[in-house]
């Protein structure tokens, strides 16, 4: 099986259609990353398209020192960050959506065995995360949901280790307050 490096070499040698194979190999990962920041499937697809087009434009800068997958993931995170910044401005104008019944029931329940499905959980987290700045949201999502290391977060958002740690502590406290607020709804 041909690896990423070989495919990229073919593309650089003038076979742009071979980029289709790169898309096929990495689209699931890109969609998974973007889905953490946007719940609308159509918007996720638009953002994924933007990610691959940006990767295509920057392909000349990819030097192969890190795996292509990591490099592409960083582009996806930056696309998500830009998207969150735009959405934040829009949300300030239109206000917050309401939680569904399942999500509200779970939030109010003290029963340890009370079940929570992925959709309701994502609704709750989405609403609480809206209280955070886009950069805080990316840091907390990468650290808490995706389980990424500080080093990986630094590379993705272009910040120092200290800045990421400080932001993570601050964001976690803010998120906790936002979730407490939702419980009281």
């Amino acid at each position: 099986m041909i690896d990423d490096a070989e495919w990229l070499e073919r593309i650089r040698n003038g076979a742009p259609d071979d980029f289709a194979e790169v898309i096929r190999r990495h689209q699931s990962r890109v969609f998974a990353i973007l889905h953490r920041y946007e719940r609308d499937a159509h918007k996720v697809e638009d953002l994924a398209q933007e990610t691959f087009v940006k990767a295509w434009r920057a392909l000349g800068q990819f030097d192969g020192r890190a795996p292509f997958e990591h490099w592409l993931s960083r582009i996806a995170v930056r696309v998500a960050l830009d998207h969150l910044r735009k959405e934040k401005r829009r949300q300030n104008e239109i206000g917050l959506p309401e939680l569904g019944e399942d999500a509200l029931d779970w939030l109010r329940s003290d029963d340890e065995k009370s079940a929570l499905d992925g959709r309701a959980a994502a609704e709750i987290l989405e609403l609480a995360l809206r209280e955070l700045s886009p950069a805080d949201r990316v840091v907390i999502t990468m650290q808490e949901i995706e389980g990424r290391s500080v080093k990986e977060i630094c590379a993705a958002i272009g910040a120092s280790g200290v800045a990421v740690r400080v932001r993570a502590v601050r964001a976690r406290a803010k998120l906790k307050r936002a979730l407490e607020k939702l419980v009281k709804l």
């Binding site: 742009p16 980029f19 969609f31 994924a48 929570l116």
Partner: protein, 102 residues
């Protein structure tokens, strides 16, 4: 929200499946990139890339040249020697705005 509920929330979010790309996703991306310029190979930099690489140094060099010119002009004026402005006025008067010229 206690730690147990937080962990339950995170686990549920992690398990939520991401949307699946539509069948025409790949074609749409390829159509978009065909409209783009061809990929540059690493190491083959365009003139703009090279200028971009030189940018901070070129900007400082330009500032240094401007500062040097102003200092020279100020120094010459202070010493009573006609400054750059006077020189330019003279040249204009002698060569460009000749009395019987156009």
């Amino acid at each position: 929200m206690n730690e147990r509920k937080w962990k339950q929330l995170v686990a549920a979010v992690r398990n939520e499946p991401a949307p699946v790309p539509s069948p025409e996703f790949e074609t749409t991306v390829l159509r978009a990139i065909r409209r783009e310029a061809p990929v540059a190979r690493p190491g083959t930099l365009s003139l703009f890339d090279q200028l971009n690489g030189w940018f901070p140094r070129l900007a400082w060099a330009a500032v240094a040249v401007i500062a040097l010119s102003l200092a020279t002009d100020w120094g010459l004026t202070a010493a009573g020697v006609p400054g750059l402005g006077d020189g330019m006025t003279q040249i204009s008067a002698q060569w460009l705005l000749i009395p019987n010229g156009f």
